[in-house]
């Protein structure tokens, strides 16, 4: 039998899965985002049993399996635990981000867990694990994680 694909492109069925979807942010994340938007303050939840402070905040402690009942303010300064620099424009990168994009895991003072966010105002080659960084808030804030524009080195 002759090869039906010889000399032609294989057949494809082109489509796009595009389903509108809204996540209710819920009590805990809403409080965190409102605090970012209205007060430029980073707040976190704390476990009453082990006293661990969780950022991003969540309602329950994964270790103790109890409800985190306390809210605390954490610093807008912290330490880079790790980072990466995207050199390729990956499809998931938001259109408004300039290349190269630097992401970091940042443990803010007062928190026991680290927050994922952008690093900016720094050259990629100057980023080091252990460096001190500070939050820069967005001018226009819409109660999302990007109300923090990015983190920049503490000079």
């Amino acid at each position: 039998m002759a090869d039906q694909f010889k000399g032609i492109d294989p057949m494809v069925y082109n489509s796009k899965i595009n389903v509108p979807y809204s996540w209710w942010a819920g009590d805990t994340a809403s409080r965190f985002f409102i605090s970012l938007r209205d007060e430029k303050k980073i707040i976190a939840t704390r476990c009453g049993t082990c006293r661990k402070t969780f950022l991003p905040p969540r309602k329950s402690c994964p270790t103790c399996f109890t409800e985190n009942t306390e809210w605390v303010n954490v610093s807008d300064e912290g330490t880079v635990l790790s980072f990466t620099v995207a050199r390729r424009k990956f499809a998931a990168i938001p259109a408004d981000r300039k290349m190269p994009v630097i992401w970091a895991l940042i443990r803010l003072e007062g928190a026991d867990t680290a927050l994922l966010h952008y690093l900016d105002d720094v050259k990629p080659e100057d980023v080091k694990i252990g460096m001190r960084v500070k939050a820069v808030f967005a001018e226009e804030r819409k109660a999302t994680i990007r109300d923090i524009s990015h983190f920049k080195p503490v000079r």
Partner: protein
């Protein structure tokens, strides 16, 4: 406890674009190869587990679309979303349950049909993280930096994993990317996300693998030599990346310890003859080996340099070429399992290792190895 064994394996060739095969077509091929390998017909199978991921398959309830081609009509069929090693775990429990004797487990995916960055971005928390635009590659790059910083593993050592595994793949006709590489080729390949070069990353792949798991009462009834499931465990770490020490894989250390205990292994370094570990990225092979106690902390890179993980080394790791040479997500763990089964049976062909009485298989779920599944397979019951 009753025992179970793998009595048949079947895999499609791993390819960049399987333009001739739908998901069901891939399943048809892998299932029939596994039945042939076992010397069974579909009537000898009494239940089926399919393993797939809805996002990768571009449809909901993706597991149900491959049942017909997997011979699941008129049988009890269930599914797992996650790596194939987890599907096999469910399959084993069914074969041991008393309700079933022979379980067919399949795993499939096609990376070629979507945009992997967009798919893996969706594994991040939608409220706190997803909008930042990270994906599996950038998340693992961040983990690679943390691992290198803690262990002083070098870019050259990581590149050597790529050289070794792509080289091993030249002996495996099912591998997608057999290549003779030098360390400099890896280091000169495109930097995609620091510190990972293109050749530090596994490719986008299509493929399907199937294994047949039998209760001991029927394990020797068919053609194939049974390979015994001696130990298995899986453990998970925290979901949020920032909750974990990403330079480590605590859940892997736990899972390995439990699997060794179940298999009666006291000194894994001496007792494991061959291993297939989840090398989606070069650093992962080294990191996972250390966490499983197959290399001391921060030494895997040095042992690799000495050739210990080569196909003729002390502990051959990813003799099949590993996932760096072909990475059909979801099916990946079943490909690894099948490779170790063939090693233990002595029919791994060109990538057969000298001694293979006891083998280890390692699968991963989640970003940067949130969850790990460790299997110990053996020649002797």
């Amino acid at each position: 406890m009753d025992r179970a064994a793998i009595i048949g394996v079947g895999m499609t060739k791993i390819e960049k674009n399987k333009v001739r095969d739908t998901f069901a077509d891939m399943a048809w091929e892998a299932v029939n190869k596994a039945l042939d390998d076992a010397g069974m017909t579909i009537d000898d199978i009494d239940n089926v587990i399919t393993t797939s991921s809805d996002f990768w398959d571009g449809r909901t309830i993706s597991c149900m679309a491959v049942g017909d081609a997997s011979g699941a009509a008129h049988k009890n069929v269930s599914c797992v979303e996650g790596d194939g090693t987890y599907g096999a775990f469910y399959g084993m429990t069914r074969s041991l349950s008393g309700s079933y004797k022979t379980t067919l487990v399949t795993g499939h995916s096609k990376g070629s049909q979507s945009v992997s960055s967009l798919i893996t971005n969706c594994s991040f928390d939608p409220i706190y993280e997803r909008g930042l635009g990270m994906d599996m590659v950038t998340a693992c790059a961040m983990q690679a930096n943390a691992y290198m910083n803690r262990t002083k593993t070098t870019a050259e050592q990581m590149a050597m994993v790529s050289v070794k595994n792509h080289g091993n793949a030249m002996k495996n006709p099912l591998a997608q990317l057999p290549m003779k590489l030098a360390v400099s080729d890896v280091l000169k390949s495109e930097m995609v996300a620091d510190p990972l070069h293109k050749l530090d990353c596994s490719p986008v792949s299509d493929g399907c693998a199937a294994v047949i798991i039998a209760h001991e009462s029927v394990a020797s009834k068919f053609k194939q030599k049974p390979v015994w499931l001696k130990g298995v465990s899986f453990c998970a770490d925290s979901f949020f990346f920032g909750d974990r020490d990403i330079s480590r894989a605590k859940s892997l250390a736990q899972a390995a310890k439990k699997a060794y205990a179940m298999a009666g292994i006291k000194d894994p370094k001496k007792e494991i003859d061959v291993a297939e570990v989840y090398d989606a990225f070069t650093y992962q092979e080294l990191m996972w080996l250390e966490e499983m106690g197959l290399a001391d902390d921060s030494t895997a890179g040095k042992l690799l340099e000495k050739g210990e993980f080569n196909i003729d080394g002390r502990l051959p790791v990813n003799a099949s070429g590993g996932l760096l040479s072909g990475h059909p997500i979801i099916a990946a763990g079943l490909y690894e399992m099948a490779a170790v089964v063939r090693q233990i049976r002595g029919d791994a062909g060109g990538f057969q290792v000298r001694k293979a009485n006891t083998g280890l298989v390692h699968g991963v779920n989640g970003l940067g190895g949130q969850s790990h599944c460790v299997w110990i397979l053996g020649k002797d019951k």
